[in-house]
């Protein structure tokens, strides 16, 4: 049991994890509904499809952040005394924000995606009424405010205990030649997330507020390209940082299980400082197809997206391999998931890095490659860490025990997300019914029922012998009209 954590905070962590679990199940159901609709096993209207898509995207990023926060708070409490009231405030504001977002989507029909790309909310407000957009954007503001309060508090605590965020990131060791090890990994990661996510939240708040003002008074406008920069500075960084919070559990638990220290040496600290800087810079890879953006900025998007993979691949994932190697570690639900989550993190990052190459992005931006990447990254990385932590937490604070079926569920879970990662392989003749249409990041297309049956039949016949030839069609999409032509033939 973690004696250092305040009992009230421990209870709040439970609430964080409970909400994360419930929403995760709901989001998985939403994902399956979308797939079933695309496979024509069920039929929902496009409006409902896009509403569910909006809820799915917003909800998944939201609970990844909520679960990551629970992990961060739980382990940071071992090193820094924290006031549970802040965690409770974060939780209440999260629930308030989520409620507003759900009302926006399911009561007022808001369906502009979790990216709410300006000026789309204002345009939708004209067609469907302002209430949906106002509820959604305000709900996101409330959510962001809750996290910003948390980070400001944590920044104050790290400053009080370690003398500033720079020292928490080990600057005195990197730049001033101080000997020894830096602060615990949980502290280093927290400092990184404070810097990056606070920046993200301020960028997000700016574009959210501007969008709201634009809806209320259309005369007040914002440059769409600037809005897009702010949106992805918010969205990419915030989604990316969920794993930098969750990985704290991997450091702590693998170290405990292997009885080996995972200390913050100089290379470790340099890696986390690089991650801090690069994570702030690389959101521009979302704008690689905005040719109006200065070329130097887009080249930064490519080069630093490559570079951002290095700290993970060379230090964090490699460190996990090294600490487990010949450790005689006990393999249970938590250690298995944490180990596999490091695989999932890197396996999800590889296609993202490749897609950040401008010439590749030119023929793959916003195709099924994108959900392929982030379902691997989120499902096999972040969510695997969160579920691993749930087990660890229940084992440490309760009486959870590993059972045989747990090993089976881990295998099943990774096969499920491994299949999600295969989205980009799917093309008309190589697809099974379930895989035939997967929405691109924000580009769902719903094929007709008759064409879908044809696709299924041809896919079933061709799947086995053409699986590898399917690799040639990565990034392509099957449009509605094309399916109709196929069906007519």
């Amino acid at each position: 049991m973690n004696e250092a954590i305040h009992p009230l905070a421990r209870k709040t962590v439970v609430w964080h994890l409970a909400v994360t679990s419930l929403v995760l199940i709901l989001m998985m159901i939403f994902g399956v509904i979308m797939l079933m609709n695309q496979g024509e096993m069920i039929s929902i209207t496009p409006q409902w499809f896009y509403k569910i898509m909006t809820a799915h995207g917003t909800g998944m990023v939201g609970i990844a952040a909520l679960g990551g926060t629970a992990i961060l708070w739980y382990f940071l409490s071992k090193y820094v005394k924290l006031n549970p009231a802040i965690l409770i405030v974060n939780f209440v504001l999260f629930l308030t924000g989520v409620s507003m977002v759900l009302i926006a989507i399911f009561v007022f029909d808001f369906s502009d995606g979790w990216t709410f790309l300006y000026p789309l909310p204002a345009q939708s407000a004209k067609m469907y009424g302002a209430a949906g957009a106002v509820f959604f954007l305000s709900g996101m503001l409330v959510l962001g405010f809750g996290f910003l309060i948390l980070y400001m508090y944590l920044a104050a605590r790290l400053t009080a205990v370690y003398g500033g965020l720079g020292k928490a990131l080990g600057w005195d060791i990197i730049f001033r030649g101080k000997k020894g090890y830096g602060p615990p990994a949980a502290v280093v990661a927290t400092a990184m997330v404070i810097i990056t996510n606070s920046t993200a939240l301020l960028a997000g708040a700016t574009v959210l507020a501007a969008s709201l003002v634009n809806i209320i008074n259309p005369a007040v406008t914002m440059d769409p390209l600037l809005a897009k920069h702010l949106t992805y500075a918010f969205g990419h960084i915030f989604a990316n940082c969920t794993i930098y919070m969750a990985v704290i559990a991997v450091y702590e638990v693998l170290s405990e299980y292997t009885k080996r220290p995972w200390k913050a040496n100089k290379v470790f600290l340099i890696a986390w400082n690089c991650s801090t800087l690069f994570t702030l810079m690389i959101y521009t890879h979302h704008l690689l197809m905005d040719f109006a953006v200065p070329k130097w900025m887009l080249i930064i998007g490519q080069v630093f997206s490559y570079a951002n993979g290095l700290p993970v691949m060379v230090v964090t994932a490699y460190g996990a391999l090294m600490i487990v190697y010949r450790s005689r570690m006990k393999w249970d639900f938590a250690s298995s998931l944490f180990f596999l989550s490091m695989f999932g993190w890197v396996a999800g990052a590889i296609p993202a890095i490749i897609d950040a190459t401008i010439v590749v992005n030119h023929v793959m931006h916003n195709t099924k490659w994108v959900p392929g990447h982030f379902h691997t990254y989120m499902g096999m990385g972040v969510v695997a860490m969160i579920i691993g932590f749930m087990y660890y937490f229940n084992k440490t604070e309760g009486n959870q025990e590993h059972r045989g079926i747990d090993t089976f569920t881990i295998a099943l879970y990774f096969v499920f997300y491994g299949t999600c990662g295969l989205f980009p392989l799917c093309r008309r003749n190589q697809c099974t019914k379930k895989m035939v249409r997967t929405p691109a990041a924000m580009g769902a297309v719903r094929p007709g029922r008759r064409s879908q049956r044809n696709l299924y039949r041809s896919g079933r016949n061709h799947l086995h012998r053409k699986i590898f030839s399917g690799l040639r069609y990565v990034g392509s999409q099957v449009p509605y009209q094309k399916n109709q032509q196929l069906a007519e033939k």
């Binding site: 789309l120 345009q123 197809m289 109006a292 010949r326 490091m342 396996a347 401008i358 990041a441 509605y480």
Partner: protein, 183 residues
């Protein structure tokens, strides 16, 4: 070509990654002195790090000279001497100043939008995405493409633009060089 490279590269690197994790998992059942493992591991890491840097540097050098929005390169390849077509995205249609082309046409698409952000994605007859740019109100993005093969091409919206996004598709006909299509 780039789509194939991306796929094979991903499969290759993820396979290597899986091998590494499987190897370490297999070795986790044995015991070893951690300080010795660390010493050897850090030595291997240096080469691993340099190897990754080399791969990334190679990819950077090979790709940055072929940027799709490089007007200098378009000029060098004569792409900007062809037709200029104005394209406007609007919920949920594509308005184009010209819709019929011939194989061999070098086309400069000047793409914008009149309401919200759309994505201009040009697909060939095999439904392979061959070029794209974003269509954004207030900005004009120029993308160059040479129609090498005749056939029916399609423009799909590749940026979610609200409830009719999936119907925002336009067909354009590229006739064979020197004559109309047989069909």
């Amino acid at each position: 070509m780039y789509q194939q490279i991306a796929m094979y590269a991903t499969v290759f690197f993820v396979f290597l990654l899986a091998l590494a994790f499987a190897f370490v998992y297999g070795e986790s059942k044995r015991s070893g002195e951690y300080s010795t493992i660390q010493e050897k591991g850090y030595k291997i890491r240096k080469f691993y790090f340099l190897g990754l840097i080399a791969i990334m540097a190679f990819a950077t050098v090979m790709t940055l000279g072929r940027l799709p929005y490089d007007s200098n390169q378009a000029e060098a390849e004569g792409l900007n001497e062809g037709k200029v077509v104005k394209v406007t995205g609007i919920q949920y249609a594509w308005e184009m100043s010209e819709e019929t082309f011939k194989a061999g046409d070098k086309v400069q698409f000047d793409v914008t939008a009149s309401d919200v952000t759309h994505g201009f994605g040009l697909y060939n007859e095999n439904m392979e995405l061959v070029a794209q740019t974003q269509a954004m109100p207030g900005y004009t993005n120029t993308v160059y493409y040479t129609f090498k093969e005749p056939g029916t091409y399609q423009i799909l919206c590749l940026e979610y633009c609200s409830a009719g996004h999936h119907v925002m598709v336009k067909e354009i006909v590229v006739e064979p060089e020197g004559g109309a299509s047989d069909e």
